[in-house]
Symmetry: C2
Subunit: 218 residues, 2 copies
Amino acid sequence: MLGREILAGHWRAGERIPTESVLAASLGVAVGTLRKAVAELEQRGMLERRQGSGTYVRARAGRVKNIYEFFRLELLQGGGLPTAQILAVDAAPLPKALIAHEQPSWRSGWRIRRLRALNGTPVALEEIWIDQRHALTPAFSEALYQFYKEQLGFWIARVQDQISVDALPAWAPAELGLQAGAACTYIERQAWSNSQVVEEVSRTWVHPQRARYCARWP
Amino acid sequence: MLGREILAGHWRAGERIPTESVLAASLGVAVGTLRKAVAELEQRGMLERRQGSGTYVRARAGRVKNIYEFFRLELLQGGGLPTAQILAVDAAPLPKALIAHEQPSWRSGWRIRRLRALNGTPVALEEIWIDQRHALTPAFSEALYQFYKEQLGFWIARVQDQISVDALPAWAPAELGLQAGAACTYIERQAWSNSQVVEEVSRTWVHPQRARYCARWP
DNA sequence: AGGAATTTGTGCGTATGTATC
DNA sequence: AGATACATACGCACAAATTCC
């Protein structure tokens, strides 16, 4: 769980994470158990511990080498090559639920609705908002984060996901294989750019019999 | 301490070492502490653990890459390049103290007396017995274990050291910088060849102000 | 085939030492 | 000088895998 949190970017590089006792208490485990987990992450190079000081998130050596660095869905049997099909692009207000955390600096945004597939199988429905001042050239299609970096000049450095369950919205296409109102794994995301401003908020409904949320590590 | 035991060859490759509770008790530590130590050695590739079965000594991947694999002396400040100067070679009976463990298959042996130096500084006196049937060509001088391997066709696979304190013998040369009778670190060694027979027994007196016994690991 | 004993795996809670702030 | 936070260690309980009878 800790590794997932780190890769999901809940703490930024160099930041000090909560102390052993606080983390252990919040996760409901004993300090010794937490220490073992942290030691493993330290050995993997994800954390750095300094006695008397704290535990810090280590900066990744090779930055954003993988365009799917923040992609968190996988088939139930594991893996799957992600693709996306755009359903609609329009201007629409952000749902209040999506700005519960940090407020984006922009108030009006593009709304992008996509159908996500893994290995060609539709697995999820995405609804994404980005700053309306960005020019949406036809170049954006599959890898949105890559589009940000190459066309818009910033890149996603950190994301925060919140996972729950929600009913599939009415605009879901039939290809997803679920009826509107069906219970789906539901992900709300805020994404921060390299300049540490909220560049994107999104929500995703995942077909629970086809894919799952899974933070992976290298 | 465990790593030293393993590198000293007190258990042979593939052998199962005592259980956690036994080892912990014999070392006077708690089981958890021992587990941490064993986990570290496992990570270093020296041990292999199997749940429900036991803990086993792993065969070294690259065998005897270092001719000083079983060399256990170092300067007080650490390290030092080992050299040896032969003082005498003759045939002499094995002291009873040296055959207290496993009996060598041979009874009459060559006795080699050497002065050991580290970085040119004399640090120890060695007295070594090997099977008298071996032909001592002039090739043997510095690295005796290498001589065994290249000239005699076997190699040392395992040694067992026993460390105590003993008085320096009368035949010690003045260069060692200690008077006869001076208290020295004293090492008795039995060395097993790849065919698992005792090929060598030795004893070493170490100048306590110049060097120390130290099992090192890669 | 099955069950008991053995051995490592995981986890809890606590106390104390040491480095840093 | 004191508070904070990680490092090390102890002892215990139970789970899971293996081994042995």
